[in-house]
């Protein structure tokens, strides 16, 4: 199993479960996010973990070729940038996050994107064997 498939197997289901939660449990998610955004210590702690996981992904998997593992590389870099911002300026993350939450369809759009990404990553991670994806497309 190569690194792309392994990381897709980890990230895909987490995105699917998070997306389902956002789509079908919106009221609880809104209350939870509002509470989390008012807690700077929580934002900082989530930043430490996001930065650590993001760096692990970027160090192990920094593939910028135009194929599906690019999603994982972008995911890793977003985690790095998000982690740094949360650690450096939690108050900015709070105000930006609260403005995002005030958008009426935020959880529908965000949950839909997370669910779609999760399905794509899980498909490639669990159903696409490494040999098939490494086969050259053009002769």
């Amino acid at each position: 199993m190569d690194r792309s498939h392994f990381l897709a197997k980890l990230i895909g289901p987490v995105c699917i479960v998070g997306g389902l939660g956002m789509l079908f449990n919106t009221a609880a998610y809104r209350a939870m996010f509002e509470r989390a955004l008012h807690d700077h210590m929580f934002i900082y702690l989530s930043g430490v973990i996001a930065l650590t996981l993001g760096l692990a992904i970027v160090i192990l998997h920094n593939d910028w070729k135009w194929h599906w593992p690019l999603i994982i590389t972008i995911f890793g870099w977003l985690a790095v940038i998000g982690g740094i911002l949360r650690m450096l300026v939690p108050q900015v993350v709070e105000s930006y996050g609260l403005s995002l939450l005030s958008t009426p369809n935020f959880f529908t759009v965000d949950g839909g994107i997370a669910l779609l990404l999760g399905i794509v990553l899980s498909y490639f991670g669990y159903l696409d064997p490494p040999r098939r994806s490494s086969r050259p497309r053009r002769r």
Binding site: L10, V14, M32
Partner: protein
């Protein structure tokens, strides 16, 4: 076998330490659990970490044999299911958790179980 040993060496001592903490410091653990269950963000966040850890174990170690290695796989499944439940419905995790910790013998029972399971897995991981 190498992967089983590595996971056992990581997971075993963590479970045993949590179990010892529950048995020896029950009042603080009860208070800590009540605070944890009072905040949905922490339930959600712990769910994400549990799901990632569970999926990691299941992807590198999905072994069902008639020996101690099945316990490692079972831990992976428990972490995956608990993590998914906490992410999808954190308010129900809060509801169930509050009902469970209201039981007087909960921390004693879980503590004994975790010390036994953690000790067994640690013994297998470091003793093999």
């Amino acid at each position: 076998m190498e992967k089983s040993l590595t996971i056992a060496r990581l997971v075993g001592p963590v479970l045993a330490a949590i179990g010892i903490g529950m048995l020896s410091n029950q009042a603080t653990y009860r208070e800590m659990a009540a605070q944890f269950l009072g905040g949905l963000p922490f339930i959600y966040f712990s769910g994400v970490l549990a799901l990632v850890a569970g999926l990691y174990i299941l992807n590198v170690h999905n072994v069902w044999t008639r020996d101690w290695r099945s316990a490692v796989t079972a831990i992976g499944w428990v972490l995956t299911c608990v993590g998914a439940f906490r992410i999808i419905a954190p308010q129900f995790a809060n509801f169930i958790g509050t009902a469970i910790i209201a039981n007087a013998g909960f921390f004693t029972g879980l503590g004994i179980f975790l010390v036994a399971a953690g000790g067994f897995i640690t013994f297998r991981g470091y003793g093999t």
